[in-house]
Assembly symmetry: C2
Homo-oligomer: 355 residues x 2
Amino acid sequence: MFRNFKMVSQVVFGRGCFNQLDEILSFQRVKSSSFVVFLVDHVFENSEFKSRIPAHDQDMIIWADTDDEPKTSYVDKLVEKVKSFSSDLPAGVVGIGGGSAMDLAKAVSLMLANPGSAADYQGWDLIKKPAVWHAAVPTLSGTGAEVSRTTVLTGPQKKLGINSDYTVFDQIVLDPELIAGVPKEQWFYTGMDCYIHCVESLQGTFLNAFSQSYGEKSMDLCREVFLQDPSDSADKLMMASYFGGMSIAYSQVGICHALSYGLSFVLGLHHGIGNSVAFDYLEEYYPEGVREFRQMMEKHEIMLPRNLVSGLSDEKLEKMIDVALVLSPLWENALGKDWAEIMTRDKIRQLYQRM
Amino acid sequence: MFRNFKMVSQVVFGRGCFNQLDEILSFQRVKSSSFVVFLVDHVFENSEFKSRIPAHDQDMIIWADTDDEPKTSYVDKLVEKVKSFSSDLPAGVVGIGGGSAMDLAKAVSLMLANPGSAADYQGWDLIKKPAVWHAAVPTLSGTGAEVSRTTVLTGPQKKLGINSDYTVFDQIVLDPELIAGVPKEQWFYTGMDCYIHCVESLQGTFLNAFSQSYGEKSMDLCREVFLQDPSDSADKLMMASYFGGMSIAYSQVGICHALSYGLSFVLGLHHGIGNSVAFDYLEEYYPEGVREFRQMMEKHEIMLPRNLVSGLSDEKLEKMIDVALVLSPLWENALGKDWAEIMTRDKIRQLYQRM
């Protein structure tokens, strides 16, 4: 059985295409009272960009707190907020920002249509009803959240995505101009999410020609962006992220992402930086990828944080290992069916203790 | 304004995934009486493959005549056939075959939902109502018809596609096993449709990073398939075709396709072979592409037909030029806004007379 992969329904790509968002939304506003929820990264609350958001009088703007990685409890709070704003469902939910804002928009649009807490749906294909129409406008590229069928959430027990066909965006607006002003470290770490993603997917056991074609091109684009500084770097990084996300259709990420989830859960480390921290210790598994990653770090003068785990209590360290071990598809992709014999708790502990 | 590109909703890719078609169709059969129209290339009528088509008792199999390129009159005939089969609309139309069968399935699903003749809709965005749900199962790769927003038809006056968001398939089933048995010449010419498509798109004036990323990877895959014979050649050709089709989102084909349309209209030449015939005389415009194309021909011992136009009447030659000249977006992509000053009737006549 091969996954019948759900794709984003519509994509617009081009410098300045953000200006088309109002027109795109007009097709969703079927009644004059139809309202749209803009879920926007709070970094834009006091920026010039704020005035470009095409919100009508009846619309709702939520400035999404992205200081922490998205939590299921925060999703539940946002859903309550939208429900108390209107007894009708919104005509659409638009996530504007990086991976966190996009994942929040996905989760809110799903949870507006499904009962209970977001934590109830962390896993694979647990969502039963289609989400409210939802769109993404990335202002940061690398996570692949714009095309993926997951929204990664930290719940009370675990960091795990709501993986579902209904999670996929109905519309994405890819405007390379919007990712131009990202601070260097954030640009780098988010880009490395994509690069590492490709290394893990291309070296994994799940790969087929569909995912390989997307993964290889994404990696080529990452190399161009992070080693050669092309003039259309933003355009290429945006495509690298999109292709990297698509490459996951018939593949999976691997060891680095599994370890990074543990780092995020226990230390609150953001996903991009968590990946970079973990990847630097994985030369045993991804020798060429780690070598090239270090070249990219050197070129952009990135200093990774060190000694994050050394002072940690045993209890927290063991929790970190628990969180990483939950992600069996990632381990299986990286190490094959017998992964559990290779990647023991001891081995994971040793890896974490070096970080 | 950038096109808000409509994508295929669902894609399944993998060796043997054709076996999942019955299950996929079950989601479309909402009533027990729901019927599906299978529009299958007639080459399969007496093949073993016939028994693998998951037709239920109430379904309709149409063996599509693909000896000629799809005509608007043939589409109208097929639509009548489906309408007289049942007063209900089918739950789905499934095209199984190469570009012709897929284009016929697109056109029939559109014309079941829209009044008049298919010829009324040749052009851009003339279709008003959504098509019947439609799916494609390519058994030949290269045209990109599986992802494109057009169905190319020969009408009474012109060869021109029905270009519309509604034309796009709802589902594609990409099973590389199905393209394994294609005769060499057909395999080559259809693959060259994809290769030439990439040359024209990548060298065109309309290109952006979205189309470039898809076009470059498609071309890499074509090079691998036609110059290196990889072990997973069928999988890669299938992906080359898909990526080639996607690259057209923000680009266009060019001179070769425009000339090829004229050859098809007047001489009835199939699209793939028409492209190859025309491309061989375009070294002035696509020097590197034509050189590499000739390497591919040599490697696979392909002999192009020659002297196709020399004996033609003036009237037919002028009609050929008319058909080619209609395709202004193709000429503009290739030669810029002032294309009409460069590509005069005389110039086109000279090119055709060499073929």
